[in-house]
Amino acid sequence: MIDLAHYAEVAGSDVIEHLRQLAALLKGKRVVHVNSTQEGGGVAEILEKLVPLMQQLGIDTQWDIIHGNDDFFVCTKNMHNALQGNVVDIPERLLHVYEETNAQNAERLRDKLEAADIVFIHDPQPAPLFKLCPQRRGKWIWRCHIDIRHPHRPVWKYVRNFIEDYDASIFSLVDFAQPLPHEIFVVPPSIDPLSEKNMDIDDDEVASVYEGFGLDLERPIILQVSRFDRFKDPLGVIHAFMLAKKYIPSLQLVLAGGGASDDPEGKAVLGEVRVAAAGHSDIHVLALPSNADRTINALQRGADIVLQKSLREGFGLTVTEAMWKGKPVIGGDAGGIRLQVIDHHTGFLVNSPEGAALRIRYLLSHRDKLQAMGEKAREFVRDNFLITRHLRDYLALMVVLVYNVEERIELS
């Protein structure tokens, strides 16, 4: 566990003092976070960091996972896709599994959740817990990590029924939210600059990782790190690579990602990607285990350009990670990528494989721009997307809810 004080070196000591002032108002409060997976995916990654930091600030914070069988996760994966806009109708049988699984988890967690002062429920998987804890005494917040601006309506109507009575919601971007009858906070996610995935590592380690995968650091490398998920458009990335490679024959592509325990679709998409990459020796498809953070760190540092050509995206933490390493990002014009990739400043927003190929060619033939954009990207992350800012926002909204703050609160 990293000491909070170490963050002062990266984010500034004033930032840590702000956290302490906010936490002082929450001393002794019991906070519980609930989600559906302990590893893999952005949510678990953020909680792994936020929970210990909240504990260090003297807030009694716990993190619980809801358990479910394969049917439960098939249901919630469909729900996830439907909320992000795919026309997916979920059979009654699976919805029954969803509710039943939550009821079973409520039996296990009820005492703790009802006694808590603040409960954060992450994403739709554990959403029904609110109604299943009728004696709750604290404030309940639904934290939605995905973009639900255009949900498949029947599924949203079903999920909304579990959410509308919460005390507040949090969305990563204002655009992602649906109207709800309570306060909706906007809190962009963040990265941890001191984690294995983002800490500084030396060039030798980067070279060794690249060598291990048979990649040549002397030749240009483009990289996309993400789950093997259709919304991340890995096939579109391969298409863009093929278009750019006609003009830059030495170009290499790395598609690196892992699965998450709540993502049964990943294997199928990985298979499709492998078929598309077959026969191309400069396309490297790396299915990494969930503990490959340091490897991902090295891959991001060694790449010339990082892509995140998502068609839909929650926030896109891999974009933040790449920018923190001083890389310009060519990102899909979707979701939270728009908040991070400021077109022509920290990278480029694209809408097609052709657009991505064009920007790859541009950046690789304008190395000075590539360098300048990368530097700008790192500073942008330092100012806006580090975990200290994220923690501050969480503490601030807890203070707002616990003390019923209308417009302003003065701390000392």
């Binding site: 004033d14 003092e17 204002v174 655009d175 906070f185 400021i342 942008f380 703050v405 209308e406 302003r408």
Partner: protein, 234 residues
Amino acid sequence: MREVRVKRARDNQESLPLLVKDCALITIATGIRAQNLRELRDRLETVHPSSIYYHFWGRRLAPSFDQPEFNNDFAAWARHDLHDYVLAERLAVVDPTDFPTIEALRQELIEVIEERLYESALVPWAKTDQQFYFKRSKIVVFDTKQQIAEPTLLPQVLPALSLSSIFYHFIDARRRALEGIDDFSAWLDAYGEAYAVLRNEIASIDLYFSTMSEIREKLVQVCTMRLSSQGEGL
């Protein structure tokens, strides 16, 4: 509270330190959206004043570059999402400091939009994904434990203040104070005529068309110029 302390200092000729604060905004989605210019006008008529304040001032603490193309979100939306360049230019020159209240500013925005609607053969529309989302914010104020003991120390202290601290003392202050002036000017006012020139120069800094870094630079500049001249012209 500040008015009382300032008055006391004035009456007693005592030295009163300026307590340095910092702040953060928590952004809140109001759930109100506009898809086209007519909807924007309609929503503007009823949206909470704090939302209009946010889209002119609060946005300065949101993730963005400190050199924005437009100084308010309405002009940016007109340019990038409605693609109405004329409207964007007209909205961009609306300076909120010209209006005594948010209600007066609201009326001006509505006037500009009405005029454009009257001129337009078609109501400008944005794509489905490019709606205008009305936001507002709540402010959390931090005690930095820092004090500026006397005005002569301003040139040393100001360069190190965070941009959010400058926001609190120079922009947010105008909302807090009955006189509608910034904290630095109010503080100098407590010293009477001694710092009248400096106070006037600070008060005349163009806060709307300056970025947060530029405001800090200008503050440092005027304070350094006036306070390094050994009292002359203070």
